[in-house]
């Protein structure tokens, strides 16, 4: 990959992004709103921010939007017309800029999860149209634990281009895929060929506090552990953790419409809600928050790895930062290691 390693200055990076923005592609990058950081469509590259540890929401909506229209029907001239959006829609080329390496891993996990068994056309279309330019982490905070779940602050997995900030407002650019190469080849004037760069010197150092394999092993014996009740007492049962999570992928299919027209929609859902498992009979197999909190942990660290060989967490820490009652994922995982006996 050495011939694909380049250097780009900060000024040229903004020019490069501006050129991408005006090329007809959608460009999403971190910007501030309500004192938080979101991936928003870029109108002006000057409004892109670079000084965040992690954005408030993950970029998962670019693959898995909070509302996805699947089919529509319309009553026209005495005839019902049904539109299957998997066939009829055109997904515009999209560039995600400023995701962290953990986000790129998460988007890959999300795409892999939706392509098992019957591949999901909606996800696939969006994934095919997405090019990911990530930035390595030079900062971290106490909620980060990527190295404990198999990724790292400079991980290239899932990114098409990975930029690592080096000295003098410059970035070391690793062009990793055909998609990444296509962007750089179309605008070569902004890049310089680079010699070898010792990336590790520049990225954040994050201590490995546990191994996800260990968590998976311990959870297999933890279903009836009394710990869940205490751990979840303050959990209020909102969907914040699931909705800011880049990997959480539960959804609910909803029909909206009337006798003239309507849509079938795929909407985000969360295992933290009581309604999520409420049966028609009125019975709820997860009657209290304790079972729901356990489900969240089990799904990510036990069921997903065991059934699909995928890990449901990339250690981005968003759930911990966003939780209104300070449910802390890293702390909970450390407790599992400390309190639940391994096999």
């Amino acid at each position: 990959m050495n011939d694909q390693s380049k250097i780009i200055t900060h000024d040229n990076l903004l020019k490069f992004l501006d050129a991408l923005r005006t090329s007809g592609k959608d460009l999403y990058a971190p910007q501030r709103k309500a004192q938080k950081t979101f991936f928003l469509p870029v109108d002006n590259v000057q409004s892109i921010v670079f000084d965040y540890v992690q954005t408030t929401e993950s970029p998962k909506a670019l693959l898995f939007p909070k509302v996805e229209r699947l089919i529509s029907y319309e009553y026209v001239d005495g005839q019902v017309q049904v539109m299957d959006h998997a066939e009829s829609r055109k997904v515009n080329e999209c560039i995600l800029f400023g995701s962290r390496p953990c986000d790129a891993v998460a988007l890959k996990t999300l795409a892999d999860f939706f392509s098992r068994d019957v591949p999901d056309v909606f996800m696939q279309q969006r994934h095919d149209a997405l090019t990911i330019i990530s930035i390595s982490c030079t900062k971290k905070d106490e909620n980060c634990f990527c190295t404990s779940v198999g990724t790292s602050p400079g991980d290239t997995t899932g990114s098409d281009i990975l930029l690592t900030p080096v000295e003098e407002s410059r970035y070391y650019a690793e062009v990793l895929t055909e998609k990444g190469r296509a962007l750089v080849d179309a605008l070569p004037e902004y890049f310089e060929i680079s010699g070898p760069v010792e990336k590790e010197k520049y990225v954040a150092k994050l201590e490995n506090v546990f191994s996800s394999e260990e968590i998976t092993r311990r959870l297999s014996k933890a279903f009836d552990d009394p710990m869940w009740n205490d751990a979840s007492l303050r959990c209020l049962g909102c969907g914040t953790c699931a909705y800011v999570c880049p990997v959480c992928s539960c959804f609910d299919i909803q029909d909206e419409g009337n006798n003239k027209r309507g849509d079938r929609l795929r909407c985000w859902d969360s295992c933290g809600f009581a309604l999520f498992t409420l049966h028609t009979s009125g019975h709820n197999p997860r009657p209290t928050q304790s079972e729901r909190w356990r489900q969240r942990l089990m799904h990510k660290f036990s069921y997903m790895p065991e059934k699909y060989d995928l890990l449901g967490c990339v250690g981005c820490g968003r759930c911990s930062r966003a939780c209104p009652v300070d449910m802390n994922m890293k702390e909970q995982l450390e407790e599992i290691v400390a309190e639940i006996k391994a096999i």
């Binding site: 309500a34 929401e57 979840s232 800011v244 909803q254 909407c267 009652v325 300070d326």
Partner: protein, 266 residues
């Protein structure tokens, strides 16, 4: 804080309460709700200006009720919520001990009269920025106001953190969760978000005690409390009743009087 620790120990030791709902040290310099059940843990309780979340929300949580008689470290807003919850028959005299803290002295408030006296002398005062925000929005033209809320509510992800953080949002089955038939749009598109927040505003009109916990809880930074605050102000203006002040006040929005003048019926 010492007085709080002493009081907590005393309450637990005497068996008068089973759990103290309070604030403890959390992660990243935050405080978090804690549930102290043993004397040995009493010193985990924290009281300082970070303690803003309205803990009254836990008084109705089934898992907490199961533990037994609670004491609650109560901000003025939490006491107001308790009064409002009593007026709505969700709590009654003797269900809890509220611990009000001032200058490191702790006062127990548990009967209706002392709760009412306390809220009279400790009005909930929100920061000047909130007043300013309300004024700025109120001064906008109807169209600009709509645009403002469209912009804000488009960010809503329907995580319902506003609902769960609110002590007055206690319905066992929220209208938005009633799905046979589905009354409120589930999808988090703009229309669905408006439907949800309008429903919440209507249900909290005249009941919101202005604690701001919903705004604090919103992960995407929507100042969502402004809607319910304004709705309650309208009820106060129209019906002369402010929530959270009297334990036996009828609810303005669900009480009918024959002498009510209904000028809106044409």
């Amino acid at each position: 804080m010492q007085a709080l620790h002493i009081k907590a120990k005393e309450l637990l030791e005497s068996g008068r309460v089973r759990v103290i709902i309070g604030y403890g040290e959390g992660s990243s310099g935050r405080v978090r709700p804690v549930f102290i059940r043993n004397v040995s843990e009493a010193e985990k309780l924290v009281w300082d200006n970070r303690c803003k979340q309205n803990l009254a929300v836990y008084l109705l949580k089934p898992e907490i009720k199961k533990i037994g008689m609670p004491a609650i470290v109560a901000t003025p807003a939490a006491v107001m919520s308790i009064v409002q919850l009593i007026s709505e028959n969700q709590l009654k005299n003797g269900d809890l001990v509220a611990l009000a803290i001032e200058d490191d002295s702790v006062t127990e408030i548990s009967d209706d009269v002392s709760l009412e006296t306390y809220v009279q002398s400790h009005p909930v005062i929100f920061p000047p920025s909130v007043k300013e925000e309300i004024r700025t929005i109120a001064e906008k033209s109807l169209q600009d106001r709509l645009k403002y809320w469209q912009d804000e509510l488009s960010r809503c992800i329907k995580c319902y953190a506003c609902r769960v953080a609110c002590p007055l949002c206690y319905c066992e089955r929220c209208i938005t969760d009633v799905n046979q038939p589905q009354w409120v749009c589930v999808a988090s598109h703009l229309q669905g978000n408006f439907e949800w927040h309008m429903n919440r505003a209507m249900h909290l009109a005249g009941r919101c005690i202005e604690c701001g916990s919903c705004t604090l809880a919103c992960p995407v930074g929507i100042p969502i409390g402004l809607i319910t605050i304004e709705a309650s102000r309208v009820v106060e203006k129209e019906f002369g009743q402010k929530p959270g002040l009297r334990c036996n006040a009828p609810s303005a929005m669900s009480t009918f009087k024959v002498e009510d003048v209904e000028t809106f019926i044409k």
